[in-house]
């Protein structure tokens, strides 16, 4: 076994890769369109949003907490950006990208502050803030949509970084938005593996009392963890606005389940201390491939939730029984 920081594919990841390969083969057999570049590029673009948020959730889960308010954070951050760039018709996409970030971080810090001050379990705090953030936004804005985004905003959305033309002459390309996911992956991986703060997040998740005694400053670490989630939620909000080319307050809230499913499938445990970036990415890909497969095989969308639910239950059950087996082997006297 290699060092936790060095290992790229652990047992969970190997299972996921195996399942993905099997699924890919199976789906291609059912509908040849699955394995086309066009479909795959589309998949990557559409799931960038989920992928980025799942990485933020990974960090929170590793720290031993949980955050379900990220959809509201993404919505608020996205709305502030949308309102500013449409009202002032700001042409720079870079500025448009930078605007939601402090909003997301600030809302994340609110979560951190509440978790620390009230000492209430983060699931309750973030359920509360989910409702508070979203409720306040709808109250202040009346739920109005923003659709007069600057032209540059739209131009950016259709930028492709790899352009391909397939045999039939249909052009497709890897969307520039996928780069945001790639960036989030690289950043999160670097933080968790090579920065002291990342290792402290694992430490706190593994044994919060020991972390405290070793000198970890818990309030600061909480601020980092939830702030980072807020930051990534804001990035995801930007990406989603790009994909939809419209800001709708109710577009994102409600998709918490998919993000949690992806993170947990990828090996992040609710009790904290475990989870990797590669696992989370594979978890997102699994959710993506399953949903994509269900669409391509024309299964009604009502069944999609059932499918995801079954997968979560199976994966969680398998991981739990694996954990039980290793504990039993160790504990025998």
């Amino acid at each position: 076994m290699r060092a936790a920081g060095r290992k790229v594919l652990g047992r969970v990841e190997l299972y996921l890769v195996a399942v993905l390969v099997i699924l890919a083969v199976f789906l291609t057999a059912l509908n040849r369109r699955f394995l086309t570049l066009e479909n795959l590029f589309d998949l990557l673009a559409n799931y960038t949003f989920l992928g980025i948020m799942a990485l933020g959730e990974l960090v929170v889960l590793v720290s031993g907490g949980i955050d379900v308010s990220f959809t509201a954070i993404a919505t608020v951050a996205q709305y502030v950006m949308g309102w500013i760039i449409s009202t002032y018709q700001i042409g720079s996409v870079l500025v448009a990208f930078l605007i939601p970030l402090p909003v997301g971080i600030a809302l994340g810090l609110v979560n951190a502050g509440l978790v620390h001050l009230t000492q209430v379990h983060p699931v309750i705090i973030t359920i509360a803030t989910l409702n508070i953030f979203y409720g306040l936004l709808v109250f202040v804005t009346g739920g109005a949509w923003i659709y007069n985004l600057p032209a540059s905003f739209q131009a950016f959305a259709v930028t492709k970084i790899i352009r391909v033309v397939d045999r039939a002459g249909t052009p497709s390309g890897l969307s520039v938005l996928s780069l945001f996911w790639a960036g989030a992956i690289a950043l999160t991986w670097f933080i968790l593996t090579h920065l002291v703060v990342g290792r402290k997040v694992y430490a706190m998740g593994g044994n919060p009392e020991a972390a405290r005694r070793a000198g970890v400053r818990v309030p600061r670490l909480l601020a980092f963890v939830y702030g980072y989630m807020g930051f990534l939620a804001a990035v995801a909000g930007f990406v989603q606005a790009q994909l939809a080319q419209i800001v709708q307050p109710n577009a994102i809230v409600g998709r918490e389940l998919d993000v949690l499913a992806a993170a947990i499938l990828g090996g992040a445990s609710i009790s904290g201390g475990t989870g990797t970036v590669s696992g989370t990415v594979l978890g997102v890909l699994l959710v993506a491939v399953v949903t994509n497969g269900l669409i391509l095989t024309r299964v009604p969308s009502y069944w999609h939730n059932v499918a995801i639910g079954v997968i979560i239950a199976t994966a969680a059950g398998l991981m739990a029984s694996q954990r039980r087996r290793t504990t039993r082997a160790r504990g025998a006297s």
């Binding site: 060092a3 290792r199 593994g206 044994n207 972390a211 005694r213 070793a214 000198g215 201390g273 160790r330």
Partner: protein, 500 residues
């Protein structure tokens, strides 16, 4: 006891007193730990050892008038950070290690906590960890997740980490509970190595045999005072027990008893991988001791006789009737009770009151009309039990969690005795219990035997087995290898036969 020259003394405490409201937890304690010294603290629960440790680690402040000197320097106000900085570290694996991180990260924790360090250089981490493990002469896989290691190895990682953060005094509380004999020896070797390196060890233990084997100095605590500090050569087991309890404690041997009719007969009981061909006969009124090294299958056998570990082959009869061993309900109905080894998880429900714990086996006795719980009957039962078994508790309504180990164990026993079992199996009933509570438990057991209950006592302590059992069997690697009358052997010979 004074040591010549302050350069040899690492920690000196004078007049350490601590009062909590009306209770005097510590009364003018003077204690010195020399550089590299192996110093043991013994004393009953509540004698002040833990409070003393909290004071020297800065977690609790002593009352004014106390003096603490570390490495020759007066420290007027000791905080936890200060104590750590000066090299005083408590090794407590549950509270200081991260099961989800690797051995290397656990040993080199100080690297991650260094102020101003942002980037992790894994090469440095591994080098620090390897050096730390080297210092205690132990080889462990650096990349293994800590949670995958057995408890004994985790303990060593905790010690290695303390050393890596430059500890000069390592404090351990009951370090050898749950260790096999070989692991205990390895730990003792490490402690001796620490001495070579000038690192002092202070450990609290109930296991007098181990203390006498490794300590250089022993300090006895009693009722908040030190009842004496002695170099190893000047003290023996009997003196220690007397000092701890404050009175002469006679070394008892069981009175010979005419065995009653056979109450439990086990023939050729076998379970693959746990025990094989176990045959024994327990008579009414007899206390049969089962002793053996860790891993000999004794607990598995006990669970099998209680129906929780159905055997592959073999038979058992209880008072002449064949005994079905498929579930604990069968065993209980037949009249067998088990006081388990893991008291906290299998013996009591910690967060429930004493009264509720007691009624777990006696529902039929506390149920009134309409099948509803009669609080009156339950409380009457509880009060009677508190008295009969001398359980020290403010009332029967307090949660069991607040009781001392000894009193918790009495609750477990009381609970089973409500059913008037014919056979009572006890698995290491006095582990982690202080001396006088042990005596109470022994009295209860002897009393039961006199009433005609057959008792199977599984134990790790030679002394205990010799003082209350009528007959003894030795179990090794799942088999019964010897059986004899308790009065026919003495301590030395029994130790030899168990180890050999």
């Amino acid at each position: 006891m004074t040591t010549a020259g302050s350069v040899d003394e690492f920690l000196v405490t004078r007049r350490v007193t601590k009062r909590y409201g009306g209770v005097l937890a510590l009364d003018a304690v003077d204690l010195t730990v020399g550089r590299g010294e192996i110093h043991c603290l013994v004393g009953q629960n509540g004698s002040g050892k833990s409070t003393f440790v909290k004071i020297i680690t800065g977690v609790v402040q002593p009352d004014p008038g106390a003096e603490i000197e570390i490495a020759g320097e007066r420290v007027p106000h000791l905080t936890p950070d200060e104590a750590l900085r000066r090299g005083i570290q408590v090794v407590h694996q549950e509270l200081s290690l991260f099961p989800n991180l690797t051995v290397a990260e656990n040993v080199a924790t100080a690297y991650f906590m260094e102020p101003g360090r942002r980037l992790v250089r894994w090469g440095d981490v591994r080098r620090l960890a390897a050096a730390g493990l080297d210092r205690i002469g132990v080889a462990l896989p650096l990349d293994a997740p800590l949670g995958a290691l057995p408890l004994a190895d985790r303990q060593l990682v905790a010690i290695a980490r303390a050393l890596a953060s430059d500890a000069k005094l390592i404090i351990m509380d009951e370090p050898t509970s749950s260790l096999t004999r070989r692991e205990v020896e390895r730990l003792m070797g490490v402690i001796r190595d620490l001495r070579e390196n000038g690192v002092a060890t202070l450990f609290i233990s109930h296991k007098l045999d181990e203390i006498l084997a490794v300590a250089q100095t022993v300090t006895v605590f009693r009722d908040g005072r030190t009842a004496g500090t002695f170099p190893r050569g000047e003290i023996d087991r009997r003196a220690l027990v007397c000092l701890m309890v404050g009175r002469e404690v006679s070394v008892s041997r069981p009175e010979p008893v005419a065995p009653g009719p056979a109450v439990l007969e086990v023939r050729h009981l076998t379970k693959r991988g746990e025990f094989a061909d176990v045959s024994l006969t327990l008579h009414a009124g007899e206390i049969l001791g089962v002793i053996g090294p860790l891993g000999s299958g004794r607990t598995e056998l006990a669970l099998a006789l209680f129906g929780m570990n159905p055997p592959d082959a073999g038979t058992a009869t209880l008072a002449g009737e064949p005994l079905a061993l498929h579930s604990s309900a069968d065993a209980i109905r037949a009249g067998i009770a088990l006081v388990p080894e893991d008291r906290l998880r299998q013996g009591v429900v910690l967060n429930q009151s004493i009264a509720n714990n007691l009624l777990l086996t006696a529902f039929d006795r506390v149920v009134g009309r309409l099948g509803l719980l009669s609080v009156r009957r339950r409380d009457a039962l509880a009060v009677a039990a508190l008295e009969a078994y001398n359980i020290k508790a403010p009332s029967a309504g307090v949660p069991v969690r607040v009781l001392s180990g000894g009193n918790q164990q009495k609750v477990v026993i009381a609970k089973w005795l409500e059913r008037r079992p014919k056979v009572l199996i006890l698995d290491c009933p006095t582990a982690g219990i202080d001396v006088s509570s042990k005596e109470h438990v022994y009295e209860i057991i002897r009393g039961l035997a006199r009433q005609g209950v057959g008792i199977l006592l599984i134990s790790d302590e030679i002394q205990e087995v010799l003082s209350i059992c009528h007959r003894i069997v030795i179990m090794k690697a799942g088999r019964i290898v010897a059986e004899f009358d308790s009065l026919a052997v003495d301590e030395g010979e029994l130790s030899r036969r168990v180890a050999g």
